[in-house]
């Protein structure tokens, strides 16, 4: 299995990946609390971006409502914990089941009735919106007043209930991001991955070649929504409060995918790189513009930078960087995977 994962990767890529993993593993021992919090947010976006990338980058299905799956995962685990004291380790099972189910419902409607492209994206947005409204009107889930998790013993680690300091959540999201990277690499190198890419590149041709479109697109949606549901569980226990207005917002969905777009849609390392560019970039700009005393100026420059990146690196930063570092491996198409 390991051979399959590393197959085609040049030694230089493996060495860099190992070095990156080591840096990320020891980072909390050197980083300030603030830097740690920035790293945590970056990794969260990297993980969710990876899950989203699986759906669009690998299987060619555009979702603009992935906040839905984060929300379902978050609310399911948080409600089970708050109302019944269910550990998030058990809650994650229900969270994944529900978010996968929702993903499958959307997938079924979209793929059975041949809703494609932007129309499929609209379908995902619609589901996110109406789920948000349902939660907004559910007293059991806190309604618009929010669902709050108890935060006692914030300083000590209660691993069973995921209560503890940021470092606990850092390592958890680091493991999740690493796991998602390995999983995606594995899937992409399997028959499933080849089918997805065939569907992504030319759906009609794939169908003519005998690829069962419906089945493989459903699998992509299911895995993507399941992974995003897990991210939701992490999110709920890290932030300890959930509000439907922000959790399910379309803007939040866009936020989740931006790192992947900047890093490189369809590449394995793109979502990670994109997240590690955008979040720290935002913080750097905050620092640089704080002296200007102009409200919103940072957001303006941040938007400007994103536009510049997209203009100069339309395929994402990772394919370019991978080429520069000669990490392309055997596949020109998957440059820098």
């Amino acid at each position: 299995m390991i051979a399959r994962l590393t197959d085609g990767l040049p030694p230089r890529a493996l060495a860099l990946l190992a070095a990156f993993a080591v840096v990320m593993a020891v980072a909390p021992f050197f980083a300030s609390d603030y830097v740690l919090s920035v790293l945590i947010i970056s990794l969260y976006f990297a993980f969710v971006g990876q899950a989203w990338n699986l759906m669009l980058g690998f299987a060619g299905q555009l979702s603009l409502g992935h906040a839905l799956f984060v929300g379902i995962g978050a609310y399911t685990s948080a409600a089970l914990f708050t109302h019944f004291g269910v550990s998030p380790w058990a809650g994650v099972i229900a969270a994944v089941a529900l978010s996968t189910l929702m993903g499958c419902v959307i997938g079924y409607l979209g793929f059975r009735f041949s809703i494609r492209g932007v129309y499929f994206a609209l379908l995902t947005i619609a589901f996110a919106e109406f789920t948000g409204i349902m939660v907004d009107n559910s007293a059991w889930l806190g309604g618009s007043a929010g669902l709050f998790l108890p935060v006692k013993n914030a300083g000590s680690i209660d691993f069973l209930n995921l209560r503890g300091p940021p470092i606990l959540f850092y390592y958890l999201i680091l493991i999740l991001t690493g796991g998602a990277l390995v999983l995606c690499r594995f899937l992409l190198n399997s028959k499933l991955g080849l089918y997805w890419q065939a569907i992504r590149d030319d759906q009609e041709a794939a169908e003519a070649a005998g690829v069962p479109l419906f089945r493989y697109k459903m699998i992509a949606v299911a895995i993507s929504s399941a992974l995003t549901g897990i991210a939701g569980v992490w999110y709920a226990f890290y932030y300890n409060n959930l509000f439907p207005e922000s959790t399910f917002a379309t803007g939040r969905s866009v936020e989740l995918i931006l790192g992947t777009v900047v890093g490189g849609v369809g590449t394995l390392f793109g979502p990670i790189l994109g997240a590690l560019i955008l979040t720290p970039l935002g913080e750097l700009l905050t620092e640089l513009t704080s002296g200007l005393q102009i409200d919103g100026i940072k957001t303006f420059f941040w938007g400007f930078c994103v536009v510049a990146i997209v203009l100069f690196r339309p395929s994402g930063v990772w394919p370019w960087l991978a080429g520069l570092l000669k990490l392309d491996g055997r596949s020109a198409n998957g440059g820098g995977r």
Binding site: A145, P150, E283
Partner: protein, 419 residues
């Protein structure tokens, strides 16, 4: 009061939050300790570094920037009160919980000894966690979700009424006004914007209202679209019910549309009782001129009879002549007042001692409605409350509660066609 806060009010009223008894403050400790030479000497070590976190960009930018006005005018007033200087460190939450959390970490990393903010409940809750983990006192300026001070935090304080208080006071004060003017509507039409905010409010009102012996019945509930460009049908329908007054939950744009429609259809209800934003905002006055007179809004507000209110109002008038002093300014200023007062009494920026000083706050010379500023064991000031403010001649006049009222309510509203 912001729509977000009212929204919190509506939804959380459903939960029926139980508030604990107030923990007695340490008497006049604030004044005594604050004026003792020892305290002054210790506090004179330098200004207290206060991290002010507000949504100054993003969807809540306007509100965050409005809150910031309360920060801008604070320094000379605090100095006049003999309180130590504060070094303000601004942080923009960008209307986002993730940024709010990261910015809190950053400000603390940069040396902030106390945090203030963040208007929005979600952002405030995110900051509260960081404050708790770092043991840094956090004084919430505005955020009404009761759960924030029910989560068991030791370093989180809030001098803003909870959602439950806001709604409860609204009905309590309606009864007070009816008694004051010797009249009450027999039936009202409940008009509300049909979005999550309006629906949550409708739900909250439905839960709270039965707890009061209101003299009126709700003749009809009419929900309307937030993006509606024309509310003529809704007003015609409301008029046809024969209701005496309007109970409304709206926002600024629809408040203006509703008023214009009332004028057009020549119907002046006895009263417009608002439990949402819109009707008391500057833009409402500017757009409608004399037609803006009459509506009564139920909001956390300042007590015009308090001396410090006059001081703050004068400072606001000087700095921002075109802006009416409002909730955002009042509660943001008071959060800084709490910080400065605590620093003076603690005599140190040491987080533990500073937190204890905040906990023992007992400010009676304050601005907002209520007995003053003091915090219960959970960090909530449960003596703070709402006011009923009526638009009279382009001004916002407090008509209830009695202790803060400066005028009787104009009842019924002056007819639109005779202004």
């Amino acid at each position: 009061m912001t729509d977000k806060n009212i929204k919190m009010a509506a939804a959380s009223a459903v939960g029926g939050v139980t508030r604990r008894t107030v923990v007695a403050g340490i008497g006049a400790a604030g004044i005594v300790a604050g004026t003792s030479p020892f305290s002054i000497v210790r506090a004179a070590g330098g200004p207290l570094k206060v991290g002010v976190l507000l949504p100054r960009s993003g969807v809540q930018a306007g509100i965050g920037q409005d809150c910031q006005r309360g920060v801008e005018v604070a320094a000379p007033i605090l100095k006049e009160l003999g309180l130590p200087e504060l070094q303000i460190m601004n942080g923009d939450t960008e209307s986002n919980e993730q940024t709010a959390r990261a910015q809190a970490e950053k400000l603390i990393g940069d040396g902030a000894q106390l945090l203030v903010g963040a208007f929005d409940s979600g952002q405030s809750a995110a900051i509260a966690q960081v404050a708790e983990q770092k043991g840094i006192p956090f004084v919430i300026n505005i955020a009404a979700a009761p759960q924030i001070t029910e989560q068991g935090y030791k370093y989180v304080f809030r001098n803003f009424p909870t959602a439950v208080t806001i709604l409860t006071d609204a009905f309590k004060q309606q009864l007070e006004i009816f008694k004051q003017v010797g009249s009450a509507p027999k039936s009202v039409v409940f008009l509300h914007v049909n979005d999550t905010f309006g629906s949550a409010m409708a739900g909250g009102i439905g839960k709270v209202m039965p707890k009061f012996d209101m003299p009126y019945k709700v003749a009809e509930t009419i929900a309307y679209d937030r993006a509606a460009r024309d509310l003529s049908v809704e007003i015609a329908k409301a008029k046809a019910t024969g209701g005496d007054a309007l109970l409304v939950v709206s926002r600024l744009n629809d408040a203006i549309l509703l008023t214009r429609e009332l004028v057009k259809q020549r119907w002046t209800p006895e009263a417009i009782l608002s439990m949402g934003p819109g009707w008391y905002e500057d833009q409402y006055f500017k757009t409608l001129g004399k037609l803006s007179d009459g509506p009564i809004s139920f909001v956390p507000w300042y007590d015009p009879k308090k001396k410090l209110s006059e001081t703050l109002k004068a400072a606001m008038k000087k700095a921002y002549p075109d802006v009416n002093m409002n909730t955002n300014h009042v509660y943001t200023f008071e959060a800084l007042l709490v910080a400065a007062d605590a620093y003076k009494r603690a005599g140190t920026g040491n987080s533990k001692e500073l937190t204890e000083a905040v906990r023992s706050t007992n400010i009676t010379d304050n601005v907002s409605i209520g007995e003053g500023i003091r915090f219960n064991a959970k960090g909530q000031n449960d003596t703070v409350g709402d006011a009923s403010i009526q638009n009279v001649g382009g001004e916002l006049v407090v008509v209830a509660p009695e202790k803060a009222a400066v005028a009787k309510a104009v009842w019924p509203m002056p007819p639109y066609d005779k202004r």
